[in-house]
Symmetry: C2
């Protein structure tokens, strides 16, 4: 896909003209989802060209047998993999018995695809001339319902230029394989195919994990928008069922199918009731019809946008970019179920084993905290709480004892899904982000109850881990943390990564502080937790010793913390002085060369300065930014956002804006030439942070919302809304002033540019 | 297999009693080879129990498609794999139409297997009662001829306890798969099967590499040792041919087959002449007969042992151990062909991709130099010279320029056969061992001619690599080498590994020294080499700067070189204080835990002290030995030998003896419970070094052979021979004195215990 392939538009993603080479990329970009399921924008009708078929059900995974070159003790034998599910969207189309297939048509014209983000639907229209010289105009529209999240709906209409026989053959198919499979194993087992009148159901369960699902469909037909009844021919195979509806249509008449379908899953229903549940969905769908469902869909997206929209005036591409990011985040995760999380590719591809990375805690939680009810962020915290047992098992496997917890690098169900020793065993800073998220949730929402109820156990497991993982160096007379990989994955197995050591120290201190607070304020919770975690005064004393005597590599000359021991031994040639033909280095250089270079993949020391901004002065931030950013190649999708926020804070607005552009249109402009594999969902939350925390300068300081609004010179104005403790505050920034607005019943004290400002409800406050 | 399974015997490996559980281990231990081919001790007759079938042809390999968990730039896409070849040893035996199969026999008694190392043959005898209640006594003997190294011979006789019909069905089979295969690909393609009278030939070639081979056979028959003529039934399939010879035999008569077979390969013949070459072998075999070939075999092994034998009096197991090691080394590599090398498993298994590791240069060359004609060691050097182009390609792929060479970690044909970044890209000290071997060869043989002819080009490629690989640290104002793995593979991606830095410095200095010498003494070679390698005075000046300013980590307090930067940050708990239940740590600990521990897999700093002994004082050796050995877990088969040598030098004879035991019977006593996968061939050369260099204290000092003989208190005496510059010197050490003997025509000056001694030819000198 070329850059500028997508039409600039404030509310829609639009592709015009049929480009065989872009089919797979567009299948990613135009993906739809509703938090419970999602699918790539595969065509409904047969397509014999290159395509990546994908339909996914949230939380339905398969533990694929690990593939590894050289085995290491501690690797998982199996790991959970995103699983391509049975398909329900297919509607093959026969025109006088010739398949409609854009890959074999004589001509395809007026091809247009639109993903309408405002209303949450995908449409496609084209004119095609088939091999039998019949020309048809086709319009298709589909969506996955936010209201009935087990249901999707398709409108598909054909207008022929001659009198012809048209057959619509909607089908279900459970003979599905994964693109990403290690050993070509079979993942799905089809149990039963059921036909009931015009309805069809395939019950299938996953091998090993035994997730039971029912994939279902029913269709309605219309001639020139008038409902008609048709009887299908039915064709059933071991893993599929097809209904063939045929009608003879006159020239320029419009023949339409509305297909309803989706999945019911034993996560939410008894496995013997899956067909019944599916029938309930179909009953509702039949009653509401396609248009009725669509109008509910528009309303549901309106509600989401009312909370989450960001407007940008004077820069259509930036506007489109931020809305695309917000839209995809909402398609991926809506916070209804603590067993779900935000996969790095959402429902748009299969790459990366599991669904949950430290991205959730470090990047996604701020977005969900500010644009949803606070229970959504709490659900994300509970997800980890529910995995605490597995995290303790994981740490035990690696030699830790007494309830120390190491959360996995990548997971679906709490078990580790990754097997590179330098990541799986050494990129342990993830544990710190999980603790930080608990702090961040409390700081933002003011809801302390989570900590005595659940969070403190997680904090204790994590603090135990850091206490045991740090070792005493007699040489330094300090505690050191050896053999880690920091957020900058272009260093492996380094000693005393500043970020990791700092986070470890903070985790222990934060756990100690909260143990004290819970002891004092929640005595019954305290007793339960002490009993469960076996912590003793002696152990807490040891934690304290470790935290107080943590070592941080520091360079006196430059007056900066060093990313790790030995960083100054490198050849410190900045990225600006690096031969541009060598970039991106992860494609051009062998791994050893990357490792011994000074180049930084994503914020590392600066990630620490982002999390713990208030621990450092602005001068310190500037010094470290100026020291590290010049060596940063930003080859992670998670890199530009943190740098954008810090550049904005340092009043370097042009640099901040450039970083913003890089993060916001990463997928739309396919910077990395890989969008066909799926979208970068988690970094999209970083785009949101770039605006709200970066340009808007939003922070929470001692229960008070604080802003330091700035605006790139390229924009006329921008606005965003945040849910702060159940008040929806709208912030509108233009080149001259900032306006605040919220609905409520009493004034709110906020900080703007370090000064307290009181804003009144239901009116505009101009600052 | 249990320890003590093998009977102690000075000249033979003996197994008594049939143990189903030990079949695969014994198949490894009783392997036979002749340098050109080799085979596991699989039974000739059918065996339906658990077995690992293996027959290997030297230098016939297959580039298997790489299997990797997480791809890194620079990994090889294919790598050469030891290839199981068509089998020619099979002789199925039918007794009244019932298969003789030890796995299904009613009874197996008097099972005895012997590998006669003195004479180079394998025998097996047993009495078995078949399902049809017939009892047979079986004796089998086979060997691979050293004289006709494309030929092997089998004697197989059956004596029944009743009048019966016996069929011998010798066969050839090219429908062969590898145990070690990444993608279950087919490796062999059978071209043609030819029958000529009693002879049979299968022409087959390897896929991709296209090695053409002919596997062949012919058999003779005897009744009570009288030759008889039999006509076979012939059965041919797509990948096999079987001749079935049947005779009716009376009770207690002896029916015998002599089967001759082997391989001809297009490495030594035109591919259209392979059958003709095979026929020539068969003609010789028929003329000499089994006994004639066997008597040649005995003579050939006698010649080998006359040069290579080590005797130990008063310790049968130690005697058996050292002979087993010397025997297996000679079965694996005889130095006839510069395209061959010493595989880590020889012809006894498939594990480890390629055939050549740094083991060859660091451990094997001293053995071959001292026990063979010097051209054998030179051939091993030329092997690398012939791979120089590929080593330059390899370095180029990793970003080096201008003819810098990085020899592969593991190879068959010069290309890298390994893909772990921390090894493939970072265990670069292998390059140093390859240069050291050139020095070592010259030091031992006095043959300088190799350097101007070939060696200097290799030295220059290696020096260029080190020059480019070292980078300047402004912080240390020294050249550093970042991101390496040293010989101690329990550390990865460390900075400034002392061994690597020291070797790098030495490589540059040695290259510079030899450039000067060749410039002065071999001007035409000098011009050729300068033209070819493009070295300039400026580049040589830079090399010198790097070598002169190389950084070595040092601890002033302990007064030792540090294994790497940061070594003192570790928790320095010695192996003695480590919970023994945690060992071996490579089976008990996850990789990160091993890496951050101080534990050392094999000599690292001490490997440097071994190579460059004369650069350090005895005090320095002692200090470093006392610092590092206590952290050494010796979990590499290559570890005990170097430590044994150094302990002996430090007069710690009990420790030296314990290290010796550990290396010499590693496979015979199956210390690591893995002998069924094959033997540890290269470490066997280390066993030899433990005696000759360790106990015997043999060195070469300025063209003079030097000894410092010591003897473990457990031994009465030991002796060894070395070929020093075409004199075979026999050294006999007992508890009181050392005797020297050699055949020659003039006295020889040697050093014994630091004093010059003149020994006269053809008489015993007692010291």
């Amino acid at each position: 896909m070329n850059q500028d392939y997508i039409q600039p538009n404030e509310w829609s993603i639009i592709e015009e003209g049929f480009d065989v080479e872009s089919v797979k990329s567009s299948e990613s970009l135009f993906s739809i989802g509703n938090g419970a399921m999602g699918q790539r924008a595969n065509f409904e009708e047969q397509y014999s060209g290159s395509t990546f078929q994908g339909s996914y059900i949230a939380g339905v995974y398969y533990p694929d047998k690990t593939r590894v070159g050289w085995w290491k003790n501690g690797y998982p034998e199996y790991f959970a993999k995103v699983l391509n599910a049975p398909s329900w969207i297919g509607v093959n189309v026969l025109i006088n018995d010739v398949q409609l297939d854009l890959n074999t048509c004589k001509k395809v014209e007026n091809f247009r695809r639109e993903l309408n983000m405002k209303e949450g639907w995908l449409s496609r229209s084209f004119t095609a001339v088939l091999a039998n010289d019949i020309e048809v105009e086709v319009e298709a529209k589909r969506f996955l319902s936010l209201d009935l999240d087990e249901l999707g709906a398709i409108h598909y209409q054909v207008r022929p230029n001659k009198d012809v026989k048209i057959s619509f053959t909607p089908y279900l198919d459970s003979g599905i394989t994964n693109e990403d499979s290690n050993w070509d194993d079979k993942f799905w087992n089809t149990t039963k195919i059921t036909q009931v009148g015009q309805q069809a159901f395939i019950e299938a369960h996953t091998m090993k994990t035994n997730f039971h699902t029912c994939t279902y469909m029913e269709s309605q037909f219309f001639l020139n928008n008038e409902s008609i009844d048709l009887s299908p021919e039915k064709l059933q195979s071991a893993t599929g069922i097809t209904y063939k509806y045929t009608a003879v249509i006159k020239q320029n008449e419009v023949f339409t199918i509305h297909k309803f379908g989706g999945y019911t899953v034993d996560r939410y229903h008894d496995k013997d009731d899956l067909i019944t549940a599916a029938k309930t969905n179909l009953t509702k769908a039949n009653a509401l019809g396609f248009e009725g469902l669509l109008s509910l869909q528009k309303q549901a997206w309106k509600t989401i946008w009312e909370m989450a929209d960001i407007t940008i005036e004077g820069d259509t591409k930036a506007q489109q970019g931020i809305r695309f990011n917000i839209f995809q985040l909402n398609q991926t995760y809506l916070g209804k179920d603590t067993r779900l999380n935000i996969g790095p590719k959402g429902f748009t591809g299969e790459k990366y084993g599991g669904s949950t990375y430290w991205d959730t805690e470090a990047y996604c939680i701020p977005f969900y905290m500010a644009t949803k009810d606070q229970h959504v962020a709490r659900n994300l915290l509970e997800y980890r709480y529910n995995h605490l047992g597995k995290a303790i098992e994981n740490a035990t496997k690696l030699g830790f004892t007494n309830g120390a917890a190491l959360f996995p690098m990548v997971t679906m169900n709490g078990e580790e899904c990754h097997n590179e020793w330098e990541i799986t065993f050494e990129e342990i800073h993830r544990n710190g982000a999980i603790a930080f998220a608990i702090f961040n949730y409390y700081r933002y929402t003011g809801d302390y109850s989570y900590i005595p109820e659940k969070g403190l156990e997680v904090l204790i497991g994590i603090a135990k881990f850091w206490h045991q993982r740090a070792t005493f160096s007699k040489d330094k007379m300090k505690y050191v943390i050896l053999g880690v990989t920091g957020p900058n994955e272009y260093e492996n197995n380094v000693n005393n990564n500043f970020y990791t050591n700092y986070l470890a120290q903070w985790c222990i201190e934060f756990a100690l502080e909260n143990i004290e607070k819970v002891r004092a304020e929640y005595p019954s919770d305290y007793r339960r937790i002490i009993d469960k975690t076996n912590i003793t005064e002696k152990e807490l004393g040891q934690w304290k010793t470790v935290a107080e005597n943590m070592y941080f590599p520091y360079d006196i000359e430059s007056n900066v913390y060093l990313q790790q021991d030995g960083f100054l031994d490198k050849e410190l040639i900045t990225v600006a002085d690096l031969d541009q033909s060598q970039r991106p280095i992860n494609q051009k250089w062998s791994w050893d060369r990357i490792l011994r270079s000074p180049y930084i993949k994503q914020a590392d020391v600066l990630q620490g300065f982002y999390f713990f901004e208030e621990h450092f002065t602005a001068d310190e931030l500037e010094r470290h930014f100026d020291f590290y950013e010049p060596f940063t190649v930003h080859e992670s999708s998670l890199s530009p956002c943190v740098h954008s926020i810090q550049a904005a804070k340092l009043d370097r607005m042009e640099q901040a804006y450039q970083f913003y552009l890089r993060t916001s249109r990463l997928d739309l402009d396919d910077y990395n030439h890989e969008v066909e594999e799926g979208l970068h969902i988690t970094s999209m939350a970083g785009t949101w942070m770039s605006i709200v925390e970066g340009f808007g300068g939003m922070r929470v300081q001692e229960d008070t919302l604080s802003f330091a609004p700035k605006i790139p010179k390229q924009w006329k104005a921008y606005s965003f809304k945040v849910n702060f403790r159940n008040l929806i505050i709208k912030v509108n920034v233009n080149q001259n002033e900032t306006n605040f607005e919220f609905e409520g019943d009493k004034p709110l004290k906020i900080i703007v540019n370090k000064r307290f400002v009181t804003i009144n409800p239901n009116q505009l406050t101009v600052v």
